[in-house]
């Protein structure tokens, strides 16, 4: 049977050569190489759950008066979109479960992408010949952020509507073209009736299609270039050592798919997320306090809060405050990420291809820079919920904001320098050990004593 399939395919397509090599392809084993896979499997879960949700979601701003199964909202005006998510959550069996899995999967998806990116950065996996895939990966991150934000905005509840209002103002703040951009994305002045339909189409077709395309390129390049590997016995710049794709790696990876799906299911089943029936429908004159976005928007929320209160008047034109924190900062941030492989090459004058990975302590300065940037993003993220913290700690938001502004400038520098120093010491210690290992070996003499003897084949770790 198997023989017949293999032969039939090869007769027609000549697949045997590819198959022989592909099935025995080596996949290096390291826990950190699972991060990208986890992201991929989150995406699989998103597609599966999202498809179910899509059949029930009504992407319409049509105002209706609610008289469904949730008494607290009876008689309240809401959009058909919000009502459809209420029905999906409260009336349709398995609807709430799948909605919550979908939302958790989105959060873990972006988290997995982010940690995966950190792995690539701190091990130098972005270096030649993999600069292109670093760029494709960043595109994937941006697409995932877009998918998350558009999805979060679909239910048209009070929380997501507030987020949209802010996004609209941020777009509006762009010099020269801001107004056109905002109208282009929202379909008119906020709140426009067309917005939900556009968000829906973008969320379920445009972004997933782009994500699939970019993932195909991403994985295709990995396949072609072969995986990097950490240093180790027998591993060189010219080989890859690992489990064969078939059956070892394939089995493990399918197991991981089900494990990821299981964990996301458990999160969706037991940890309530985005209970939109408690927030109520969006109403432009209301806002809930405190309002928190999903975690991956936190750094932008924090930037808007800490941002300077500038309102620049230039030749009878305005550049308002949200531009600096909401547009310029992320623009600089992502530009820096995009050019990093080329920037680093400029700095190190190292244009050689690298198939062996760095240990983060091998390159202290890069690790220090990465740690500083992470610290910056983390301070911003925490600042994104400063009102909640102020309430808990019992100090005024104004003072906390000032504290965060100082931390935003000081902490990244401190963290970067400490990490740099730590990595250097780690490297020095490792080198010392390695050198010691090459110099001395001790053996028992016939008389029962010890003797040093030069060791020729001592391994460097």
């Amino acid at each position: 049977m198997i023989r017949r399939v293999v032969l039939a395919l090869d007769d027609r397509l000549g697949t045997a050569h590819f198959m022989r090599k592909a099935l025995r392809k080596a996949f290096p084993d390291h826990w950190s190489f699972m991060l990208g896979e986890i992201a991929l499997y989150c995406f699989v879960v998103l597609l599966a759950t999202g498809t179910y949700l899509g059949f029930f979601f009504d992407a319409s701003a049509q105002p209706i008066t609610y008289n469904g199964s949730y008494p607290s909202l009876h008689g309240i005006q809401m959009s058909a979109a919000y009502a459809s998510v209420l029905r999906l959550s409260l009336d349709i069996r398995a609807g709430l479960l799948l909605r919550q899995i979908h939302h958790w999967a989105a959060l873990v998806f972006v988290a997995a992408i982010t940690v995966h990116m950190c792995r690539i950065f701190f091990t130098g996996a972005f270096r030649r010949p993999r600069e292109l895939n670093w760029i494709v990966g960043l595109v994937l991150l941006i697409l995932a952020l877009g998918a998350g934000f558009t999805g979060y905005s679909l239910p048209d509840d009070l929380l997501s509507g507030t987020g949209l209002r802010i996004a609209y103002s941020v777009l509006l703040s762009v010099p020269v073209v801001g107004g056109y951009l905002a109208f282009l994305f929202f379909g008119g002045d906020f709140p426009a009736t067309q917005t939900i339909g556009r968000l829906f189409f973008t969320h379920v077709l445009v972004l997933p299609a782009l994500l699939v395309a970019a993932m195909a390129i991403h994985l295709g390049m990995i396949w072609r270039q072969k995986h990097t590997q950490f240093r180790g016995p027998g591993r060189t710049e010219n080989n890859v050592i690992g489990s064969p794709l078939w059956p070892n790696y394939a089995m493990k990876s399918v197991g991981l798919l089900f494990a990821v799906a299981a964990i996301l299911t458990a999160l969706g089943a037991f940890f309530q997320i985005n209970p939109i029936w408690l927030y109520g429908p969006y109403n432009p004159a209301n806002v809930s306090s405190p309002a928190q976005p999903d975690w991956y928007i936190g750094w932008l929320e924090g930037a808007l809060r800490l941002g300077p209160s500038w309102d620049w008047q230039i030749f009878n034109h305005t550049i308002p405050a949200p531009f600096f924190a909401g547009v310029l900062l992320p623009l600089v941030f992502f530009t820096l990420l995009f050019v990093w492989p080329f920037l680093e090459r400029r700095i190190t004058h190292d244009g050689q291809p690298h198939q062996l990975l760095d240990h983060p302590s091998d390159v202290p300065w890069r690790t220090g820079v990465g740690a500083a940037v992470l610290a910056f993003a983390i301070v911003l993220t925490f600042a994104g919920s400063d009102d909640v913290q102020a309430k808990i700690v019992g100090i005024s938001v104004e003072r906390l904001v000032n504290l965060y502004r100082i931390m935003l400038l000081v902490l990244p520098v401190a963290v970067g320098l400490l990490t740099f120093q730590f990595a250097r010491e780690l490297r020095a210690r490792r080198n010392a050990l390695a050198e010691a290992g090459t110099r001395i070996a001790i053996s028992r003499t016939d008389s029962g004593g010890f003797a040093e003897q030069p060791e020729k084949d001592a391994r460097r770790p």
């Binding site: 064969p244 493990k252 799906a261 089943a269």
Partner: protein, 277 residues
Amino acid sequence: MTARIWGIATAFSVSVLGSALFAAAYALHSGPQWEGLGLFVALGALGLGIVLWAAFAIPAEQVVDVRDDYPSDRDERSEAEAALEHGLAEIDRHGFLTKVLLAALGALGVAALFPLRSLAPGFGQGLYRTKWRRGARLVRENGVPVRASDLAVGSILTVFPDGYVDDASSQTLLLRLPPGVLAARPERRNWSPQGYVAFSKVCTHAGCPVGLYRASTYQLLCPCHQSVFDVAHAARPISGPAARALPQLPLEIAGDGYLQAQSDYTEPIGPGFWQRA
């Protein structure tokens, strides 16, 4: 060996039970927790079984791949380059045609931009004007107009122009201040009859409704990024990221005792944008 096989078989059997639990929970309307528990067990046990299988029932194996796929050898590279250049040279022999071709492609590209216009409808008025007009009555969210005698000193109310309840950009905060609190600018002296003042409720930072009021200090607070506006001084921002005061709506009291607007806001409300002078 057999113990391992049995362990893996048990995992798959547990997964079957999980699927059954999910189906039963669905059929019995048991809610997301039971459905989720079933699905979790079904997926988790399946994953566990497969991972155990891979780890214990398939011999570990290491293979070595040699990296010889790229870069290609020197001849291959120069032949690829030559092939590309050959084609380009062929095309370029008709340099004139190339230019016309590029012009045609460019025109198509520009033409394709036109439909974008339909995606961004009527940019303009909405950003500059609200629905407030001279003589528009102030009404509450339920449409009931406000009389000058209605509000106690110190209270606050969200109002809209009559006929436009819930209009997002017209939402306005009406406050009644005790005498002597308001430090009105000279040109706004007659905008606040009997201590009534009205400010746009749309935050000048990023457009959230400025929904919180600290009556003791006459401060309005935006819950989105915590901008604070000082009502007594023309709602100027005193902390947070907002840079501009909330625009003030000129009020008057009509002959019948109802509050109404003298005009629209005298400047664009809400967050700033490039075309705003």
